[in-house]
């Protein structure tokens, strides 16, 4: 009898530990933080405000207007590229394809790729690129916008872009930025490194399982 009690206690403990370890799995939150103190029910409480992606307005490869509202309730990955990029972009998008294929059936997941060469990468050029890449539907948007707007939004993703260098090439870093449903930065990954992108895929699954990221259905 005593043995049985011990056994049950052990099993319960074991399960509790196991549950805990998966519950605690959460991604960090990046960007600037700000502590705000407010009064709730006469008591002072301090909250942490995290940096979020500000409002924006771009056009996708179908000519549809895409704003920050279009990404409400979505987990998404953002990157910066241009269709004639000879060096890192083919690698980034070769690595992005498995991510697209893995999550394209999730209604609350998106990929957005901003072109940094809006003069050449017009909406029809972006559509053609999407067709050649074999991407369709609304999971992966290629976004066209004013150069200033793109460069400004890049800063809020902590990505650095530079004007054309003397060789006529744009310099930009190949990061994939993971954004949660509260528009906070939850991960940055080197998009040219297949290993890091695999980690991103695992992190997206972790993020999707966080309580405040669950599907809103």
């Amino acid at each position: 009898m005593k043995k049985l009690v011990y056994a049950i206690a052990f099993i319960l403990l074991w399960n509790a530990c196991k549950l805990n370890s998966s519950d605690n799995k959460a991604l960090p939150i990046f960007g600037n933080k700000e502590a705000v103190t407010k009064t709730v029910n006469g008591k002072q409480v301090t909250d942490t405000l995290y940096q979020t992606i500000p409002a924006f307005k771009f056009v996708n490869q179908y000519g549809d207007t895409i704003t920050d509202k279009s990404l409400d309730g979505k987990i998404y990955v953002a990157d910066f590229f241009f269709t004639t990029c000879p060096n890192i972009c083919p690698v980034m998008h070769r690595n992005m394809l498995p991510v697209y294929n893995e999550f394209k059936s999730h209604a609350d997941f998106r990929i957005i790729s901003h072109t940094i060469d809006p003069k050449y990468d017009t909406v029809p050029v972006l559509k053609k690129y999407a067709d050649k890449m074999g991407i369709s539907g609304n999971t992966w948007w290629l976004l066209h916008g004013q150069k200033n707007d793109t460069y400004t939004i890049a800063k809020s993703y902590l990505v650095s872009l530079q004007e054309k260098n003397p060789q006529g090439q744009y310099v930009h870093d190949g990061y994939f930025i993971l954004i949660d449903k509260q528009k906070r930065i939850r991960g940055t990954y080197q998009g040219t490194d297949a290993k890091e992108v695999e980690k991103m895929t695992a992190d997206i699954k972790t993020l999707m399982a966080e309580p405040d990221q669950k599907s809103t259905k």
């Binding site: 060096n87 890192i88 083919p90 690698v91 070769r94 890449m133 074999g134």
Partner: protein, 138 residues
């Protein structure tokens, strides 16, 4: 005694054959391994580690028939770039490969690597061959 002599002659002959082969083999190996490094640095980002290309954007380097029938143009493609419609492995492509300022020996090396990797098989493309091909670029 006679058998011993024949035996020795055979061994000497065999040694000749092997050393001749390995001369060629050594040259091939040198081109191939240098070419592998040139490929990683200059081509792999677009054409992929396995020569698989990228969807409908960048053709694969696995179409042995195409590579064989354009054998003497490959050096010019690499040096001057390539644009316009081409059909690779039954798929239509219309992209643009930028020119690449590799030296003739690097071009010979990378082409030896490409035409002997990803399921392709062919002979060494030597520096002399590459120079001869490059002289005929238009």
């Amino acid at each position: 005694m006679k058998i011993k002599l024949i035996g020795i002659i055979c061994v000497v002959l065999a040694a000749f054959v092997i050393s001749c082969q390995s001369d060629e083999q050594v040259e091939f190996n040198r081109y191939f391994s240098a070419g592998s490094a040139v490929y990683q640095a200059n081509c792999q980002n677009c054409h992929g580690a396995k020569g698989e290309g990228l969807q409908g954007l960048i053709p694969s380097l696995t179409d042995s028939v195409y590579l064989k029938s354009n054998k003497y143009q490959l050096a010019c493609f690499v040096k001057n770039g390539l644009k316009g419609q081409i059909k690779i492995s039954g798929k239509q492509f219309e992209g643009e490969m930028p020119p690449n300022d590799l030296s003739p020996v690097e071009i010979a090396q990378v082409l030896t690597y490409v035409t002997n990797s990803f399921g392709n098989k062919s002979a060494t493309i030597t520096i002399d061959q590459a120079n001869a091909d490059l002289a005929k670029c238009n």
